[in-house]
């Protein structure tokens, strides 16, 4: 078991290095430091201004290792700094990226965690009900509802939510943010509702498939032959089996809780990591974008390793090898 963990972690580390390579190719290969400079300060800037800008942001070195500058080049710098979490300053406004990260993490979590938990509970509960009543009109109408919900892009939910609930009904503010726990929930209510609603269709569908996959298995027939009722079968027999794929899906969501929802934060004016990313897009701030993707990948790889390990703990078939 320990050997497995070590192997997984090594592979994860390799993947992280691969991610960094990809980011390097994307941000320094496809675009050159000159392009980055021009995008930041304008196309018509004079060459010496561009050089100065590049020097300020550390882009004035050669890109790849070569004779005379084996370690003093952008590639090595990129690896060294990312792996030591030395993210440097934003390309757009020169503020240290780490500060922005620290400030943005809390609002993001305040939005994503309630949305995730609520969506999960509602989704699983609805899927259980649908699995219980499979084949009946409850099942059929829920399926139709899910397909319709899945066909509506989240953008329309955002606009609709803001218009109907924010403007017409005036239940919650359309956007904005205020620190402090009591006032916060007013600003979070609408984005959470929008997020849960837009994800509901896909979530229920996924869990419904998971439950139904189990419901048709032989051991359910055995349980029924013993005289167990539908409710008991679902809760005592199906759910423990279904929990395995559910757990996988849940753990894999965790990285996204941190990186925040770009759309919701931008639309509802919540100053989290998602907003940070959107600002970076608009300002062509490559340094911040690089950092966000890197952090997202780190969390993702960590979550994958945890899922694999969790699998061996939860599934008795895998555990007792």
């Amino acid at each position: 078991m320990l050997a497995y963990v070590v192997r997984r972690t090594c592979f994860g580390a390799l993947v992280v290095l691969g991610v960094l390579l990809f980011l390097f190719l994307l941000f320094f290969g496809v675009t050159s430091p000159d392009d980055i400079a021009r995008r930041a300060i304008g196309d018509k800037a004079m060459p010496h201004v561009i050089e100065q800008w590049k020097k300020n942001h550390g882009y004035d070195k050669p890109r790849l290792p070569g004779p005379g500058h084996l370690t003093d080049n952008l590639l090595v710098e990129h690896y060294r700094r990312m792996l030591t979490f030395d993210f440097g300053k934003s390309d757009a406004d020169n503020t240290p990226i780490v500060d922005r990260l620290k400030h943005g993490a809390v609002p993001s979590l305040c939005l994503t965690v309630p949305e995730f938990l609520l969506g999960l509970l509602l989704g699983i509960w609805s899927a259980l009900v649908v699995a219980l009543f499979r084949g009946t009109y409850i099942d059929k109408s829920t399926t139709i509802l899910c397909v319709v919900l899945m066909s509506v892009p989240i953008l329309l939910f955002i606009i609709g939510g803001q218009y109907l609930i924010g403007k017409q009904l005036r239940w919650f503010p359309i956007s904005g943010w205020e620190r402090g726990s009591s006032a916060m929930w007013r600003f979070l209510a609408l984005p959470v509702i929008v997020g849960v609603l837009s994800g509901f269709g896909g979530t229920v569908r996924f869990y419904r498939t998971v439950f139904l996959d189990e419901v048709y298995r032989d051991y359910v027939r055995t349980a029924r032959a013993k005289g167990a009722g539908d409710m008991r079968i679902l809760l005592r027999h199906v759910l423990p089996n279904a929990m395995i794929p559910v757990l996988t899906a849940v753990v894999m969501e965790i990285p996204f809780l941190f990186t925040g929802s770009l759309l919701l934060e931008a639309a509802f004016g919540i100053p989290g990591l998602g907003s940070l990313t959107v600002d970076a897009i608009n300002a062509n701030d490559f340094a911040t974008l690089r950092t966000m993707v890197f952090i997202g990948s780190l969390l993702f790889v960590a979550a994958q390793i945890m899922t694999d390990i969790g699998y061996t703990l939860v599934d008795p078939r895998v555990r007792l090898e």
Binding site: T222, K226, A228
Partner: protein, 335 residues
Amino acid sequence: MTSLLEVEGLTTSFPAGARSVAVVDGISFSLAAGEVLALVGESGCGKSMTALSVMRLVPRPGQVAAKRLWLDGKELLALSVPQMRRVRGSSVAMIFQEPMTSLNPVIRVGWQVMESVLLHESVSKRAARARALDLFRRVGIPDPNHRLDAFPHQLSGGLKQRVMIAMALATHPKLLIADEPTTALDVTIQAQILELLREVQRESDTAILLITHDLGVVNELADRIAVMYAGKVAEQGSRMDVLKNPSHPYTKGLLRAIPALARKGERLYEITGTVPAPRDFPRGCRFCTRCPEAFEPCAERVPEATTVGPAHEAYCHALGTPPVGPSERSHEQRP
């Protein structure tokens, strides 16, 4: 002898487009207390579906109908769903063909056996566990105390099937339905399981409805045999009668096809053709397309039961006419 199970005119049908297809078509049989009745036939003849129909476990959208489906004095088709649930697992229990997949993989086997008890009797968990331990011993599971806490994947196929039998016997059922209990097991394990079933039947006088396609298994266990073909019963009688004096051409064909009876170098006998799909059942006798003794009425009229011996009947038009030596006939029609 009082009948424990009486089935009359059992029909199980599934919708297929606008029509519905009867995979079990008006069959009748009965089973006395403590008796072993073997339902024999090829794959797809409807024997498993018959077993599921008795338990009312036919998967949706199948429908079960019968003139009589009597178990221990109760008309099963008249019971409500909760009432039927009380019958299942207590008066009648079932063991399935695939022990690999029939046990819940994430629950310990001891608990799964305990569940049988806890569902039907109000006993404490400790008492249920003691019962489970006792059952494990009875079905011959070695080191039963440790095995109670094992997961299914830690047990071999034979052990898993013993667990299934323990689970079925937990509530002292009067009828045990065994659907191909040994098909998925190794030959040596098969013998052990059959031996176990025989013991169980003797000790607790449990009636067994044995579903199988293996005539060897039938010979080991059965008191009576009912041969099924394409959803209908072709012949039924005591084991001796059916095996020694087969009357229906299908039964005769089955017995001839057993390899052990062929002499060395002789070509193996086969019943020509294949079982027709439910959609293509002939109007008359279902076996007529493959029957070496078929003549005019066979394709048009469904044969009625003809008594060919004490408690031995077959459904064949040819039984009314003087017998033409079946072996000669079949020789002619061999491919």
